[in-house]
């Protein structure tokens, strides 16, 4: 036993200039102990020592029989009971302390949590709002007490007894020196930045050495915040971290297609810096080209392009899809909608590598005007509508440019002998989904129809009128899906004569107007291939005249130069610009 410096006979702390030791023992009086009092003093000291040791044992939760040999004296039952009453120590809950510490944290600053436990001391390094998803940050380093203080016992129970104050037989002064040194060298030892915000939590409130260590830490690091809290640290840390405001914005990674087809990935803002847990946000996207049969990747990234979370999902083509996410915690985002999304475990680099550099698309907006003859042979009438339904699906999935689709269906003049003048149904420019709705809402095919003509001229008149009223937002395309030519303006002596339009409209006039309103691309899909003399189709099918039997949506899309025959897969959704 070293006796280099005088120590308190009760707790073994080195005696300073104080009259009373921290343990309560009176170290100095003005009068000396007389001979008569010597035995009383001895008894008093022995009692103080025993009670000190018993309290340490009780704090450390030691087994009474196992620890008995280490005690200075033999405690009675009453001594144990009395000790139990005195070990209650003041606590200071960790959570508020941690919350305040995080609040003071500046961007880029590190928070180091020193957790002082019964076996070791653990340093947890937490940056503010760590973006990586998952629980508490991974950087934890522990140091066993015996590394800090080699003089302590190897036996766990004995060690606990010592930590709790049972320090008879060890060099108490040496301990203090080492603890002070440890506290001083903390930042260097754990490679913590000099401006780190320090929080210490004593997991064993009232234990002698943890309390002392905290004192040393306070002395070395005046801005350290300390707590005395026996509870588990990790959940508290998780909780506090979850409540932290974001230090960086989060966004949904979407693809932007440039005028020349180049792809640029850019996050669409979901959460802003300063946002906190439980906030929800929505970004509207569209299914990318080729997305009909492929998954899209919904990836939430930070402003600094770190992946927060990613999901794979099949998006419904043609309609704006709202992507709704909840900030569960910084670094943890929960996808609320679309439903059916599955977590995607790939790294951001892997995901980004999926995107092509460019896709082959047109860049200016288009207006696609579809005219469909409603009546005719049952099979043909059904297939005409089916073709358009497939075309709308395709356009919804493949179009990368804003497109307006108009759908006009026309029935028959001269229904049951009488002249019907209101034969055009449908909807002017809208989304592919709206065109689809309009298609579904068209009247059913009639059971009888005019033999040699259909009121296509009425539909063309509507097109000419609408297109003249408003200049084109982009190029205009006409698609006619029909079986019969339009009614002539005058009944004529032709091989298949037809009644004239009861309104007297002349399709040739409206066909000429197609040029002036910028409808240069014209496609006609006919039940039967037209005869060589059927000149409506030469004008109305300026680019393509295709037989219905051979026409497919993708062939039409290609003929319109809207859809690439070999679409390059773009795995990221497109930002829905129509919602802005």
């Amino acid at each position: 036993m070293r006796t280099g410096s005088p120590a308190c006979p009760v707790c073994r702390l080195p005696i300073g200039r104080h009259e009373r030791c921290a343990c309560g023992w009176t170290l100095r009086t003005s009068w000396t102990v007389g001979e008569g009092n010597r035995s009383a003093f001895a008894a008093e000291l022995a009692s103080a020592q025993l009670s000190h040791d018993v309290r340490a044992a009780v704090r450390a939760g030691c087994d009474r029989d196992t620890i008995a040999p280490l005690l200075r004296g033999e405690p009675t039952r009453a001594d144990w009971d009395q000790a139990e009453e005195h070990v209650a120590a003041r606590t200071e809950p960790l959570q508020p302390v941690l919350t305040t510490a995080f609040a003071s944290l500046a961007a880029g600053q590190v928070l180091a949590l020193v957790e002082i436990g019964p076996q070791d001391i653990t340093i947890t390094r937490a940056a503010a709002a760590d973006p990586d998803p998952g629980g508490p940050p991974a950087e934890r380093r522990s140091q066993p007490w015996r590394e800090v203080l080699p003089m302590l016992a190897a036996d766990a129970e004995h060690l606990r007894y010592q930590l709790a104050g049972g320090l008879v037989g060890v060099d108490r002064a040496e301990i203090s020196v080492r603890l002070a040194g440890w506290a001083e060298g903390l930042l260097a030892a754990f490679e913590l930045p000099g401006d780190s915000v320090l929080v210490a939590v004593n997991r064993r409130p009232g234990w002698t050495l943890p309390v002392e260590l905290i004192d040393h830490l306070r002395r070395c690091h005046p801005r350290l915040r300390a707590a005395a809290d026996a509870g588990e640290v990790a959940p508290v840390l998780t909780r506090v971290l979850a409540e932290q405001p974001l230090h960086t914005s989060y966004g949904l990674l979407t693809a932007e297609v440039g005028r020349d087809g180049t792809i640029r990935l850019a996050p669409r803002p979901l959460f802003a810096q300063g946002d906190r847990a439980r906030k929800t946000a929505t970004v509207t996207v569209r299914c990318p080209p080729g997305g009909t049969h492929n998954d899209s990747v919904l990836a939430v990234v930070t402003g600094t392009r770190r992946l927060v979370g990613a999901w794979s999902v099949r998006l419904r083509p043609g309609v704006p899809v709202p992507v709704q996410a909840e900030l569960a915690a910084p670094g943890l985002v929960r996808l609320i909608s679309p439903a059916g999304a599955r977590p995607d475990r790939r790294s951001l680099a892997q995901l980004e590598a999926l995107a092509p550099e460019r896709i082959d698309v047109r860049s200016s907006p288009v207006e696609i005007i579809c005219l469909v003859e409603l009546n005719g042979p049952q099979d043909a009438a059904r297939r005409r509508r089916k073709l358009l339904a497939e075309l709308f699906d395709l356009l919804a999935a493949e179009l990368t440019v804003p497109a307006g689709i108009a759908l006009l269906g026309y029935a028959d003049h001269y229904a049951a002998g009488a002249a019907d003048e209101h034969v055009v149904h449908g909807r002017w420019l809208g989304s592919p989904a709206e065109a689809q709705e309009a298609l579904d809402a068209l009247p059913d095919a009639a059971s009888r129809w005019n033999r040699n003509a259909a009121p296509l001229e009425d539909a063309l008149q509507e097109v000419a009128r609408r297109c003249t009223q408003r200049p084109a937002r982009g190029s205009r395309i006409l698609v006619v899906v029909a079986g019969r030519p339009p009614h002539p303006a005058a009944v004529a002596d032709v091989p298949r004569p037809a009644q004239r339009c009861p309104l007297g409209w002349d399709w040739t006039m409206y066909a000429r107007r197609l040029d002036t309103v910028g409808i240069g691309v014209r496609l006609a899909v006919l039940d039967e291939p037209p005869g060589p003399q059927e000149n409506p189709w030469r004008t109305l099918g300026l680019r393509v005249v295709a037989p219905l039997g051979a026409a497919t949506a993708s062939k039409l899309g290609e003929a319109m130069a809207l859809v690439s025959p070999n679409p390059v897969r773009l795995p990221f959704p497109l930002a829905d610009s129509s919602q802005e």
Partner: protein, 347 residues
């Protein structure tokens, strides 16, 4: 001095036969005749000579005017259909004192519709087998259904008998059919040969003895109206509504023009056949339309852009035609009036 009044006479009974290829418009012509009579454009009137004939006419007219439908192509006609076309005509008569004076005389012409199947005119042997029924079957669908188009041989004989016994014939020539079938000469030729065999002896000259009214039907159809209009035959200044007419003097020429429009056309032969078989003196041409031209109810005037009074429909059950507007028959009474006048013996 009193002169005795005209002696009461039984009305003259002439006979007229209506003749033409299937679908040339015979039934519609008849129904339209009734409409024309009812529209009161002449002093003549038409009635059935029995209940069945009266009912038939009433039904057909109703169908035409109210339902705007043409007679069904396949239809069983009641037997013994016969109508009486009755009116007055002026005759010059010599009195006992050698003076002539003009009298009005009641005239009744029997109009028989022996609506024979087309195959019969053509002499199609497949159709000349025994028929199961004594009724005359109204069956115009030539060629397409030889299976149920069987006819009694005696029926052909009856038709020829009938035509032989007629004083006048109305021959309906359908230019629209000629466009697609080019077979009118077959129908004509077959019948004329048989007529000649049976009736030539009765004639005073080298022609058949009959008066013939050639009615070019479906004047409202673009195949007929368009060329007539284009070539300047149609005159739309004669009628209130502006309906086109072709002066009688030009109708024969227009007929030849229509027939000649295609050199390969059997109509060219038909034109020649008519001129060689029937006396030019006893032949007249009429541009007719049973349903007449379309009259736009909003404008109440004929529109040259829309002469056609028919809408062609189609559907899963096949093709049909409907009448688009009101029925304004053209030149349906005139051929009968002419025949009634021309066929009577001069007193």
């Amino acid at each position: 001095m009193t002169f005795p009044g005209p002696e009461p006479r039984a009305p003259f009974q002439g006979r007229i036969g209506l003749w033409g290829a299937p679908q040339s418009g015979k039934t519609t012509f008849l129904a339209a005749l009734r409409v024309a009579v009812d529209q009161g454009e002449s002093d003549w009137w038409l009635h059935g000579s029995n209940d069945a004939s009266t009912d038939f006419l009433t039904d057909m007219t109703h169908q035409l005017i109210t339902l705007r439908q043409f007679p069904a192509a396949t239809l069983n006609l009641p037997p013994n259909l016969q109508w009486v076309f009755r009116g007055e005509r002026e005759v010059r008569r010599r009195t006992r004192f050698g003076l002539t004076r003009t009298e009005r005389e009641v005239t009744a012409i029997m109009l028989d519709l022996l609506d024979a199947p087309g195959g019969m005119y053509r002499g199609d042997s497949r159709r000349s087998n025994a028929a199961p029924s004594g009724r005359v079957q109204f069956h115009d669908d030539d060629g397409a259904d030889a299976g149920d188009g069987r006819k009694d041989l005696s029926e052909e004989e009856r038709l020829i008998d009938h035509l032989v016994s007629c004083d006048g014939l109305i021959y309906l020539f359908d230019p629209t059919r000629e466009r697609s079938r080019r077979d009118s000469y077959d129908y004509f030729q077959r019948t004329v040969m048989q007529l000649a065999q049976r009736a030539a002896g009765r004639s005073r000259d080298r022609f058949l003895p009959h008066h013939l009214a050639v009615c070019i039907t479906k004047f409202d159809h673009p195949y007929v109206y368009e060329p007539a209009h284009r070539l300047g035959y149609a005159d739309n200044t004669t009628k209130d509504e502006g309906f086109p007419t072709v002066p009688d003097a030009l109708a024969a020429e227009l007929f030849s023009v229509l027939c000649a429009s295609d050199v390969q056309n059997s109509a060219v032969l038909l034109d020649k056949g008519i001129r060689t078989s029937f006396s030019p003196d006893r032949t007249r041409y009429f541009m007719t339309s049973a349903v007449g031209f379309y009259l736009d109810p909003k404008v109440r005037r004929f529109q040259p852009a829309q002469p056609w009074n028919v809408v062609e429909e189609t559907g899963p059950e096949g093709d049909t035609t409907r009448i688009l507007g009101g029925v304004h028959p053209i030149n349906v009474i005139e051929p009968l009036v002419w025949l009634a006048t021309a066929t009577l013996p001069r007193s």
